[in-house]
């Protein structure tokens, strides 16, 4: 059923809020920005048609404040809310509340989020639909003894995971039975952070590749995929760099993984854009890891190699348009470096502060997604990502050369950033050859230029 969207409230901040506003402006859709007091000088506030302060700096009282956000939507007559990524984007309750207030949540439904948000439930859904998953427990483990029994069945090494966890929390690798009880206790304690300390076990795949498939589904049950992104370069489960196509990919593997991802989406009649994450082992066996029911930080590299606007697709799907029944494949090579306000030579310690000088790279094949400007004060209350730098070229080698050039051109003064780390990464032999797995950052040695 087609229903035009006229005004979107962006329930987010930073670069993604600006990203959404830009597409809305192109589509002639009015925008409402919300912001905390810490973000009053933020760029997304400046470029929206209307902007409302909703609370103090702490996210719980501002960007996670559902009543305040719904109030703003009602006061400004917004007919849709775009949640961006993080914050409330995968909050099933928020999706439901939007629906109850006749506000279109630009994303999946409460049911989709619930089905995929709970990792144990997601695994079960995949198994029921013939999508390969890492061997593991079918449900939650009630006792440590059950855990040990299952671990013996699956075979060490195993990974104990919190069903509600994220960002690497509530996870422990267990290599032998002697360590089981200690690591069980640790994982459970961390998992309790998510108000749910339920854990399950999976076989731990040594040195996997983290390869995810972008999918899109409309309101009529049609689903398609937009190929893969390789996100194996991670530090403490936080992605640092992403690229497409994956240097580990083959046409056959892409076809199989794409098909599996579409099967997963079709199984729940997924609506919106989403990402199915897989682990791929050295033999190119792939296993479902989890599904993210939102737009992702790294969506831009898929856009650059397919010439699409995924935020626009989200809005069109939300309005009730049908998607083309075809898949999309990379027509070029794109790499994204996430530049954070962190000191890469001091354990990536966050360095909020004021940007006193800024020059952003440009030119052929360079895309910069950022909310920073000269004079901007990076608040300490939120994540440290400040610039997404994307290089696009016909070949992987050229994309690396472009990224290297762009990183050299980039100037950010006043705060420390991870740009220097990315420069070293572009020179790393294993990276340049495309031979890396999720273990890469454990072995990567960053050279501190100050140390003689």
């Amino acid at each position: 059923m087609y229903k035009k969207i006229n005004k979107v409230l962006i329930a987010n901040r930073g670069e993604i809020a600006l990203r959404i506003i830009r597409t809305c402006q192109e589509m002639g859709i009015k925008t409402v920005a919300i912001y905390s007091t810490a973000d009053k000088d933020s760029l997304h506030v400046r470029f929206a048609d209307e902007a409302v302060c909703i609370g103090p700096a702490p996210s719980a009282q501002s960007y996670l404040n559902i009543p305040a956000i719904i109030s703003v939507a009602e006061l400004t007559n917004a007919d849709a809310i775009h949640p961006g990524y993080g914050f409330l984007s995968e909050n099933a309750k928020f999706a439901r509340i939007c629906k109850e207030h006749d506000i279109k949540f630009i994303g999946p439904t409460e049911e989709h989020i619930n089905k995929m948000g709970d990792k144990a439930t997601a695994r079960r859904t995949m198994i029921e639909n013939g999508v390969p998953v890492t061997p593991g427990t079918e449900g939650i483990l009630s006792t440590v003894e059950d855990g040990k029994k299952e671990a013996r069945r699956i075979g060490y090494p195993v990974m104990l995971k919190a069903t509600a966890g994220g960002g690497g929390k509530g996870m422990r690798i267990i290599r032998k039975e002697e360590d089981f009880e200690t690591l069980w206790a640790q994982a459970k304690q961390e998992a309790a952070f998510f108000a749910n300390d339920d854990v399950y076990l999976e076989k731990y795949i040594e040195e996997p590749h983290h390869i995810e498939i972008q999918i899109a589904g409309d309101q009529y049950g049609n689903v398609c995929h937009l190929s893969e992104r390789d996100c194996s370069i991670q530090r403490r489960h936080q992605k640092l760099l992403e690229e497409t196509p994956s240097p580990f990919m083959t046409e056959e593997l892409r076809h199989k993984m794409g098909e599996a991802a579409c099967k997963a989406a079709k199984a729940i009649q997924y609506e919106g854009v989403g990402t199915v994450e897989f682990l791929v082992d050295a033999s190119r066996n792939f296993y479902f890891m989890e599904m993210n029911t939102r737009i992702q930080v790294e969506h831009g590299i898929t856009e650059e190699v397919t010439n699409l606007d995924l935020v626009k697709e989200q809005i069109l799907i939300a309005e009730g348009h049908k998607i083309n029944q075809r898949n999309y494949y990379p027509q070029a090579h794109a790499i994204e470096c996430r530049i954070n306000a962190e000191d890469p030579f001091n354990n990536f310690r966050p360095c909020p502060g004021q940007i006193t000088g800024l020059h952003l790279p440009g030119g052929n094949g360079i895309r910069v997604d950022t909310h920073i400007y000269s004079g901007y004060k990076i608040p300490s209350s939120y994540d440290s990502m400040i610039v997404k730098l994307v290089a696009v070229a016909q070949t992987r080698q050229e994309a690396i050369d472009k990224m290297k050039r762009a990183l050299n051109e980039l100037v950010i003064e006043g705060v420390k950033t991870t740009a220097a780390f990315h420069q070293q990464l572009m020179e790393d032999e294993r990276f340049r050859q495309g031979k890396y797995t999720t273990k890469f950052m454990e072995e990567f040695e960053i050279k501190n230029p100050d140390v003689k």
Binding site: A51, V52, S71, V72, T76, N77
Partner: protein, 170 residues
């Protein structure tokens, strides 16, 4: 030194003339103001939210003297308004700000009397107004005791977090 009051008077005078855009540059100050193109936005209850005071980088050095930085008018469709800041008025006045987003009402319901008027003495804890959000009415209590010097928001208009509502003379 830039005299904020002079700049403020200048802008008020210019807005009355009915120009659409003014550009002014001196050694100390660079100003660009765009006025709405003759559109009359209804001053009714559901007025759109103003784009808040945005610090233009070139004026940032003068922000202390300027008080409320000027509004960047490029995309606004409603006339420039000034948030009343205590700095420019009597420095002894205390500002009571909104603790939430919602609609500001001066009475508990249309048939009941107004909570407070200018000149009223209030004690700490006295209900000054209600702010309605999602059909729930939240009583806003005064954090200070004193006399209501000014009411900054019109009855029935939307307010945002931290928006100044009342000026109180302690």
């Amino acid at each position: 030194m830039v005299n904020f009051k002079e700049v403020q008077d200048f802008i008020r005078a210019v807005s009355k003339i009915g120009l659409s855009e003014v550009d002014i540059q001196t050694e100390e100050l660079k100003l660009n103001i765009k006025f709405p193109a003759g559109e009359k936005e209804s001053q009714g209850v559901k007025e759109g939210f103003q784009i808040p005071q945005f610090q233009m980088p070139m004026l940032s050095g003068m922000s202390q003297q300027m008080g409320s930085p000027l509004q960047a008018a490029a995309t606004t469709t409603t006339p420039i308004e000034y948030r009343q800041e205590t700095k420019e008025d009597d420095k002894k006045l205390l500002t009571i700000k909104s603790p939430m987003v919602g609609t500001f009402y001066r009475r508990p319901s249309p048939d009941k009397p107004i909570y407070v008027n200018v000149g009223d003495e209030v004690t700490k804890g006295k209900v000054l107004c209600v702010i309605e959000a999602m059909k729930l009415f939240n009583e806003i209590e005064s954090e200070v005791s004193g006399k209501i010097a000014k009411i900054l928001v019109e009855d029935g208009s939307p307010v945002e977090y931290d928006q100044p509502l009342f000026l109180v003379e302690p």
